[in-house]
Point group: C2
Chain length 266, copies 2
């Protein structure tokens, strides 16, 4: 693909069309800067009420941006042209909670009782932090953010339960304070951090060995700052073992027409 | 009942016990000051996923504090001793969207597929405004807050749809600005106002004739300030016509052990 403008400057609809046409199968980090990208969970209707209660009870880890109508692969509140079956670069198909395969569209898989959940993602608040002049270590080091399974339990709903997963970004205390202020404005994309400092308070043994993503450098004087993470529902899905479930592949998000600034609570 | 302490100073569990024992059938305004009171909607499970999506899509009018498990009349996240069947002073029973009767408990009515929705209520933000020294006209005049059906449509979900209902409090502009700041901290109890000034912008013809509650005095220099209102779901229920639905009677709320301050987003 010969892109004549910066990936970050192209519009959300441009990127959805590129993805829909099979021209973009990579991560979506940095694409369509300023616009909300979402975590994706698709479940049959028979699981949807339980999963929706799970998200409501654990809103910091699973902040719902939108919930589709049963069987509807459009989500007008996210983008008028959106087709959930084709507009994500890579999907994961889980059966009974276990990853079976990755696919690049859902055209032949889609069922008329599937419900789509679009869940807020840390890309939105990372952008707000960068805009405020803060450094995001995983971006500086071009790594996936390190994520850790904690000893905190989420509130169960039906068969959905499991530990809270957190992402971690090291910061100097003054930057951590600024990050707490900025992220408080964005409850729909995980909101304020849930902890900083001692990892063992969350049951995390070794920051150098994350459960997901990559370890990042922690410099002298910095403290690890922990946010509730959108990977949390994957732990719940692995435990609930629904006979089928679709998610995005990590980093391959749903790009919406919503501005990150629309997510600001104030 | 010989109450030896101020009604506002007695604990939430004291009041729930009084209500449970049939000793209090009045409004709950001013009781257990500092604690969250909730709007109540109870629906059979077959409507619950649709109604939960409706609340998710219209979160400013229908901010969910908690959703019960199907058939469970307890809500541990609101209070350990809570019994939804007995702890509200007066309930309304709707069949096919129409009010059939008011009852003082649900002990003989309760069904094992009923789902309880506890929805945030303006009592919480009114208290935050009073604590900041603002006057709340409906409190000063000992009236129910005036509420108006607007020309704004809510986002539908399944059979649930209808107009947004707003409550109105007149304020001087400087107080309105302070109220916007304060209420922004409380998205779980309707959050910031949605409009101030010209009522016709919301399709409201005459502030002196509210659709619910009582008209209040608007003094020279004051502007009407409008908040999304928890009566909105009643409009949606009237249109969805579920074969059965229980709500609280207006003003007769569910008193929880949650502190209003716990509702602050930051």
């Amino acid at each position: 693909m010969a892109l004549e403008i910066l990936p970050s400057a192209a519009s959300p609809s441009f990127w959805r069309q590129q993805i829909r046409d099979g021209h973009w199968r990579q991560h979506t980090s940095g694409l369509a800067e300023g616009y909300v990208q979402c975590n994706l969970v698709i479940l049959p209707t028979r699981y949807a009420f339980d999963f929706l209660r799970y998200c409501q009870r654990n809103a910091q880890a699973c902040p719902l941006i939108a919930v589709g109508e049963p069987g509807d692969y459009r989500m007008m509140s996210l983008a008028a042209d959106l087709d959930i079956r084709t507009d994500v670069p890579s999907y994961r198909l889980f059966r009974h909670g276990e990853l079976e395969t990755e696919v690049t569209d859902l055209l032949s898989l889609w069922q008329n009782d599937w419900v789509t959940f679009a869940i807020g993602c840390s890309f939105s608040f990372e952008q707000a932090l960068l805009a405020a002049g803060l450094e995001i270590r995983n971006i500086t080091e071009a790594k996936n953010v390190p994520m850790y399974v904690t000893n905190r339990k989420t509130e169960p709903a039906g068969p959905f339960e499991g530990p809270l997963v957190v992402s971690m970004r090291p910061m100097l205390p003054a930057d951590a304070i600024r990050a707490i202020q900025i992220c408080s404005r964005f409850p729909a994309v995980h909101g304020a951090p849930i902890h900083f400092g001692e990892p063992s308070a969350l049951g995390i043994g070794d920051l150098a060995r994350p459960d997901y993503g990559d370890a990042v450098t922690i410099k002298p004087g910095e403290v690890p700052v922990f946010w509730a993470c959108g990977v949390t529902p994957q732990q719940a899905i692995a435990r609930a073992r629904p006979d089928i479930c679709i998610t995005h592949s990590p980093g391959h998000m749903l790009i919406t027409d919503l501005l990150n600034q629309h997510m600001a609570a104030f």
